[in-house]
């Protein structure tokens, strides 16, 4: 078992995403420290992929900047190793199947355990394809996170039954990005999940303000924010550390107030 459960232990979880290496690795390191300090319960670290088909323009551009800045899988592992000396917040990688496969799936997943990564989110690995990664995830105590979408309908129970760590509920159709409204019936998805597993679930895609975060965390066990943070980094670049800290603090406090 990984440490992901700790993020959901006492209260609703506030979960953040950033693409590692945007605008550069040193700034990323400071941003991640700021996010942990500001009260995030779980940190998703994106390893940039050249062609991220599940991402909207904000995260797509962020991962492109990270790649242009020379970010590689090995450099991300090195950074996590360094951060783990003093950060206890559970951390998971979010990347695409080819980044893991190309590194050698077993080699990649064993490295995750070695540097202190708790889980792996691969948006292009659905239930049907998870076996080839999950065998190593089990071996090295890294949770392969399952995603559930608004279109999952009859698949929710099947996915929930085998879920590990936490379940990532995709709030809306389409790619990542901020949205003014979320129309999916999260409540009914969550109730099917609860019938089938004790693994916690959190909602992501489209959340940017405290009101949305509270609403989604109330309906589930947590709220995930990516694009809204990445937008601050895109705008402030090397000066993003303080504004990201302030934003995460406000959002985390809102979610923890439930």
């Amino acid at each position: 078992m990984s440490n992901i459960y700790k993020a959901f232990e006492k209260k609703k979880a506030f979960i953040t995403y950033i693409a590692v290496g945007d605008p550069d690795l040193d700034t990323s390191e400071q941003i991640i420290r700021a996010i942990a300090e500001a009260g995030a319960d779980l940190i998703e670290l994106g390893i940039p992929f050249s062609d991220p088909t599940a991402e909207g323009p904000v995260i797509l551009e962020s991962t492109q900047r990270a790649l242009q800045a020379g970010t590689t899988t090995d450099k991300v592992f090195d950074l996590v190793k360094k951060l783990r000396r003093d950060i206890e917040t559970p951390m998971v990688f979010m990347t695409y199947a080819n980044v893991v496969f190309s590194y050698g799936s077993e080699r990649f997943i064993s490295m995750c355990q070695k540097v202190g990564i708790d889980g792996l989110i691969l948006p292009d690995i659905p239930y049907e394809e998870k076996a080839e990664f999950e065998q190593y995830c089990k071996q090295y105590d890294v949770d392969l996170i399952s995603l559930i979408a608004p279109t999952s309908s009859n698949r929710v129970a099947m996915i929930a039954k085998e879920a590990k760590g936490f379940i990532y509920i995709v709030s809306s159709l389409g790619v990542t990005g901020t949205r003014s409204e979320i129309n999916t019936d999260i409540d009914s998805i969550v109730s099917v999940i609860r019938e089938n597993t004790d693994v916690p679930c959190a909602v992501g895609f489209g959340i940017s303000d405290p009101k949305q975060a509270i609403e989604m965390a109330e309906a589930s066990d947590g709220a995930i924010v990516g694009s809204a943070i990445v937008k601050i980094i895109a705008k402030e670049k090397e000066k993003a550390v303080t504004p990201v800290y302030e934003y995460v603090k406000e959002m985390a406090e809102a979610v923890h107030s439930i």
Partner: protein
Amino acid sequence: MSKGRFGVHGGQYIPETLMNAVIELEQAYNHYKDDPTFQKELNELFNEYAGRPSRLYYAKKMSEDLGGAKIYLKREDLNHTGAHKINNVLGQALLAKKMGKTRLIAETGAGQHGVATATAAALMGMECVVFMGEEDTRRQALNVYKMKLLGSQVVPVKTGTATLKDAVSEAMREWTSRIEDTHYCLGSVMGPHPFPTIVRDFQAVISKEIKEQILEKEGRLPDAVIACVGGGSNAIGAFYHFIEDKDVRLIGCEAAGRGIDTFETAATLNTGRLGIFHGMKSYLCQDEYGQIAPVYSISAGLDYPGIGPEHAHLYDIGRAEYVAITDEQAVDAFEYLSRTEGIIPAIESAHAIAYAMELAPTMNKDQIIVINVSGRGDKDCAAIARYRGEDIYE
């Protein structure tokens, strides 16, 4: 192992959001592929609308000039819209219509698949949006105009290298945001299952016809079938009914661009390694960390960093061979076929012709080569003229 495997290749590496859509597509396809009414309607479209069967033409002058094997040209360039792409599109559009979809989306490289999709959408009264790399909208401006003329919207894709792979990514993104009324009319034998199988089945009409036509003309099977390969739809179509005939050599011609020892290449099997991308496991042009390589070819239709999973499998088991043809060889072949036979081939198809020009002289006069001329070259004339240093206005 999941569905839709060709050896280790294939599968369904897509976001959960799309899973029910591909499952629904697979179920619909399994139902309609054996439905006599569907097959009758599709055959009528093939014959009456697209102009099938396409001719198998004996290229006498070319055969004599090269001084070796007899060369036959499978004239997919004579199909309506000028390429093999229409075979797959008519099949998928008809299937989408039966599934109750009212909107088609598609990616396109050279523009041939986009034009074919726009054509089928016009014919069947469906809405159509085509994603095309911005770089390709410049290389293939005429096809952009045609798609608009046919009533489609063309979305230039600016991300990444602004070519075919980025158009595929953007079409996949669009599909995840609108599934209910929309069918993604994928243009090649790639992507997640069931696309590689569906597209192959609709393109297999090419080899079915070649087999009948060559048996009628020569009373025997060919010694080699040659086709160009990007994603690989015309090639799998030309190969499929010969896979069981072990004496028929199957040869795919990849785009080497400026050469397979340079970074400016799109020759996947000659330079790539196994990976996962665009919904499938297959060979990919990628760097040591699995980042997809920015591929290059003079041909917008072959300018893709992956290859269909069934080709990857035919390569693994040694049933098909895959050679790399440079821009220069392809342009020479483009000019050669125009001069020798009065047929201007697509620059994609010219890659297959280039290899036949090497192979034919090494064979005997009683041997037979069939080249799949997958498309016509009108769309390429301006670009080839520029390649030769001549600036013409389209």
